[in-house]
């Protein structure tokens, strides 16, 4: 967590215990903290305070947008194939339509237009992908939606975006916007769904009438206050952080591409044009994503953690086993290659020393695994 968020949170864990819905003075103090946080989140997300609905995180926000729309308006739900499961699963579960993406992970706008008709009540396209970092052209998506499905609400999952992109501007065309605090230096278990004025949803949590009857339950005051502090800190230095982290990411990925034969940068055609930073323009700064032929990421992650480099591969299922990513499959990455995927995440606290360590540790680890993967002579 960002230190600002920890500092903001602590008094609400140690000193202030009141429920903001109460009528006494401590309750009013909590209420004020909640109102302040709501204004900050509105500012950061380009919304009005009344449009901010606090949730328990990104999954709840996504579920509320998708299922809340389906339950209130019926109709057909549509989303992109690389959406987070918090969007994809409810859309598919309600018999919705899934639109493909190109090899770069960008949603196919012609395919989207073809999937839309006046029965469509919700279209969900994420602002930035959580695995490979692809930034979606949300304004162009909105144009297609407004033309082909004028009644549809546009939802964007901006969970991965807050640290790296000007969400207030880029998500402006969307009617519904999801974010999660832990992705920008806040605590886990708290997030926001922006619900624009006039957008009507069926609540998923009922009772108590909190959040203007859009989300019942006593608000997580400490978490919300910390989220707002993290968001403020994040936005205040976002442009410098993005430039610094993008440079670190580029040095890391370019260094690995130079050191490791056959390495593929996911969604990019390697060697097509030269300066790495330009090639990665369509990606958020904090993600480098690679596919490593001849290597299984399960094995690689173990070797990396022995040397205190913590990376990830695809998503994990309930047992903790790694499953091949649906995002890579949607981008047309071969299943076998997808088992050798590696996501390198950087954040506001990443340093040049972190990159140096990864550059030192990864090439020999990959080399070792490739030697062992080679067929042994009979």
């Amino acid at each position: 967590m960002r230190p600002e968020a920890v500092a903001a949170m602590l008094p609400w864990l140690t000193e202030h215990h009141a429920n903001p819905s109460g009528a006494h003075r401590p309750a009013r103090e909590a209420r004020r903290a909640l109102d302040d946080a709501r204004e900050i989140m509105a500012e950061v997300l380009g919304a009005r305070p009344g449009e901010i609905v606090f949730t328990s995180g990104g999954t709840e926000a996504d579920n509320l947008a998708v299922l809340g729309t389906a339950d209130r308006h019926g109709g057909v739900l549509v989303c992109g194939a690389t959406e987070h499961h918090a969007v994809l699963d409810p859309v598919v579960g309600r018999g919705g339509r899934v639109v493909g993406v190109g090899p770069d992970g960008v949603v196919d706008l012609d395919g989207l237009a073809a999937a839309l008709d006046p029965d469509v009540t919700l279209v969900s396209v994420m602002l930035a992908n959580n695995e490979v970092g692809t930034i979606q052209p949300l304004a162009a998506v909105a144009d297609v939606v407004r033309t082909a499905a004028p009644a549809a609400r546009l939802h964007t999952d901006a969970v991965q975006a807050v640290s790296w992109l000007d969400v207030a501007a880029l998500a402006a065309p969307a009617d519904l916007v999801s974010v999660s605090a832990h992705k920008f230096g806040g605590p886990k278990g708290v997030g926001v769904l922006v619900v624009r004025d006039g957008v009507d949803l069926a609540p998923r949590q009922i009772g108590g009438g909190q959040e203007r009857e859009r989300r019942g339950g006593t608000p997580n005051v400490a978490g919300i206050v910390a989220m707002a502090a993290a968001a403020e800190a994040c936005v205040a230095d976002r442009s410098t952080t993005v430039a610094r982290v993008a440079a670190l990411r580029d040095r890391l990925v370019d260094g690995l591409l130079a050191a490791i034969p056959g390495l593929l940068e996911t969604g990019l055609e390697i060697g097509v044009d030269e300066p790495g930073a330009t090639r990665r323009r369509g990606r958020v700064a904090g993600i480098g994503h690679l596919c490593i032929p001849g290597v299984e990421s399960e094995a690689l992650l173990f070797l990396l953690e022995q040397q205190e480099v913590y990376a990830s591969a695809a998503s994990s299922c309930a047992s903790g086993a790694m499953e091949p990513s649906h995002v890579l499959a949607a981008m047309g990455v071969d299943r076998r290659l997808a088992f050798g995927s590696l996501r390198l995440s950087l954040g506001w606290s990443s340093t040049a020393a972190d990159v140096d360590l990864a550059l030192a540790v990864l090439p020999p680890a990959i080399d070792r695994l490739r030697q062992f993967a080679a067929p042994t002579p009979a």
């Binding site: 399960e298 094995a299 173990f302 070797l303 299922c317 309930a318 047992s319 903790g320 086993a321 499953e323």
Partner: protein
């Protein structure tokens, strides 16, 4: 030693890990995710992975999960289904040991720098004065699993540890209880792990994957005596489920012809044969050369075992009809024929000297 312990979430592998920790080894636990999604029944259920992880946490060792689902499908499940399609009776546990635990996992362990892989099998690996090793029966005669480990080659035997093989099962449970492991009272696993009764059993599992064909039951003279609704589900030696109950001598399936949609039935003595042929041989120790030279190199007084807990019977060994096969002749009288696809394992005393599949 750096040891990777295969932890299924059962009591045997839990205690295996605990014993290795106690012996001072640098232990990492791993659960292989072979089958199934988030379901809580059958093989690799989330509950089993939870048990393995909690035991590892209690022992203060790392716990990994490896997804070998594609390998399990290619080497165990698909061949199991194909074997039934031919009318064979496969043993998927043996193929899982052959391809997953003692090949895929062992190779992964090598790549990750482990010195050994340990499992919770009830069997031992003994070393001879010439340095060669043999799989030997576990100390608990009721739980012995040496039969399903006959395929371990010299290379694997040198890198595998079987810490509970010297213990009685009751002592394994007592040790788990002493350490307060949550798996101490967990029931033993049984049957084919990827087929669950709640999922409709073998009939549903196979019926979802291959066409099941009705067939005729005929006697030795070829006269039809009944019908079965799926010839693929009939196993040589089977008596129940043929619809032939009541009246006269019990009758058994003595031959299964899937392409001909015919099951031949006969009396118990028609199931008996003087010998059994095995192929796809795995031979222990320093025995080498073509299969027709193998019998001379094997020790005398051998017994053969035809199922995991079958009764071992004395045999004499000769070269089989095809290259790479052996013919085992029962020396104490004819025995039940062994279905195609089953394994037969040869023992000299407590030790496995060879094994193979019935072709």
């Amino acid at each position: 030693m750096r040891v990777l312990v295969a932890m299924s979430g059962g009591v045997d592998s839990s205690v295996a890990a605990a014993l290795l920790v106690e012996a001072g080894h640098d232990v990492t636990g791993v659960t292989m995710k072979l089958w199934g999604g988030a379901s809580d029944t059958g093989c690799c259920s989330v509950a089993d992975v939870d048990d393995a992880r909690r035991v590892a946490q209690q022992l203060d060792v790392q716990h990994l999960v490896f997804n070998f689902g594609d390998d399990f499908m290619a080497h165990v499940v698909d061949p199991y289904v194909e074997a039934h399609q031919r009318g064979d009776t496969p043993n998927p546990c043996i193929e899982c040991n052959r391809h997953l635990k003692f090949d895929r996992l062992l190779r992964r362990a090598d790549a990750l720098g482990f010195d050994a892989v340990a499992t919770g099998h009830h069997a031992r690996i003994v070393e001879h004065p010439d340095g060669s090793r043999r799989i030997a029966r576990g100390a608990d005669p009721d739980k012995d699993q040496s039969y399903v480990l006959y395929m371990l080659g010299a290379d694997a035997q040198a890198r595998v540890l079987l810490p509970v093989g010297t213990m009685l099962k009751a002592d394994v449970r007592a040790e788990a209880a002493r350490l307060g492991l949550r798996t101490a009272d967990k029931p033993d696993s049984q049957d084919v792990c990827f087929i669950t009764a709640s999922g409709g059993g073998r009939r549903t599992f196979l019926g979802d994957r291959i066409a099941l064909h009705p067939g005729r039951l005929v006697d030795r003279a070829g006269a039809e005596v009944g019908r079965v609704d799926a010839v693929e589900l009939v196993t040589v030696g089977q008596r129940k489920g043929l619809g032939l109950a009541g009246g006269g001598e019990p009758r058994y399936a003595v031959d299964v012809d899937v392409p001909g949609r015919t099951v031949t039935v006969g009396q118990a003595d028609e199931l008996l044969g003087p010998s059994v042929v095995i192929a796809d041989l795995v031979v222990a120790g320093p025995v080498t050369g073509p299969s027709d030279q193998l019998p001379a190199q094997l020790p005398g007084g051998l017994v053969a075992q035809c199922s995991a807990h079958g009764e071992p019977r004395p045999v004499s060994v000769a070269a089989g009809p095809a290259a790479g096969s052996l013919e085992l002749t029962w020396t104490d009288g004819p025995q039940r024929r062994v279905a195609r696809g089953q394994s037969v394992v040869l023992y000299a005393g407590e030790e496995v000297v060879a094994g193979g599949l019935v072709p």
